[in-house]
Subunit: 107 residues, 2 copies
C-alpha cells in the first residue's frame, strides 16, 4: 500500500489497536498485520509520538521475566479517533471526486 496513503491512517490504527485493552508494541504489530503492515521502527516512533501528545499512557510490566511496555489509550486518544471519523466525510467526498470524475465521459 502506498506510503503516503498510510500517513493519515497509522496513528488512529495504533490507537484503535489499544482501544479495547492495553497492549504492547510487538502485539500491536501482529494485531494490525491483517489490516495494515507497519515496521517496528515505525510503530515505536508512533507510540512515542502518541505518548508525547497525551493520546496514550505507558506502563512497564514484567511478563515471564521479560519487560513489556503496555500502552493504554486516554480520553484524548479516544477523541482523536472521533475526530478522524468526523473527517472521514471529507475524505469520501475527495474519493468520489477522483473516482467519478470522467466516467460520464465514456457514455
Amino acid at each position: 500500500m502506498d506510503i503516503q496513503l498510510k500517513r493519515g491512517l497509522l496513528d488512529v490504527c495504533v490507537l484503535a489497536a489499544i482501544r479495547n485493552e492495553d497492549s504492547y508494541g510487538y502485539k500491536i504489530i501482529k494485531d494490525l498485520k491483517p489490516c495494515v503492515e507497519l515496521s517496528e521502527s515505525t510503530l515505536y516512533t508512533i507510540l512515542k509520538r502518541l505518548e508525547a501528545a497525551g493520546l496514550l499512557t505507558v506502563r512497564t510490566a514484567e511478563h515471564d521475566g521479560r519487560l513489556r511496555k503496555y500502552y493504554r489509550i486516554t480520553q484524548a486518544g479516544i477523541s482523536r479517533i472521533e475526530t478522524f471519523k468526523a473527517e472521514w466525510k471529507e475524505v469520501i467526498s475527495i474519493y468520489k471526486f477522483v473516482s467519478e470524475e470522467g466516467e460520464n465521459e465514456q457514455a
Copy 2:
C-alpha cells in the same frame, strides 16, 4: 483537514482535476477548492513531481498576453488514478477497523 490525511490524496486530486480537460495551476486550485484546499506552493511542487514521473505533460501557451502552463494527463496518469481506486478497498477496511472497533463494547 489533517495534513497527513491529505498526503495520499493530493496527487490524484490534481490528476483528476486535469482529467477531463487541460488546465493550469491557478485554475486547478480554484477547481479543487470546494473539494480540498491546497496552497500554491504545494500545487506547483506537485505539478513538478507529476511531470517528472510522467503522469502529465506541460505546454506553455499565451492567454490574453499572459503566459499559462497547461497540464495534460498522460496514460500513466490515468493508470495512477486507477491504482488509487484499486487501493481504496484497503483504505476502507482500515477505516472500518478504526471506526467499528469498540462499538460493541457499549452494548
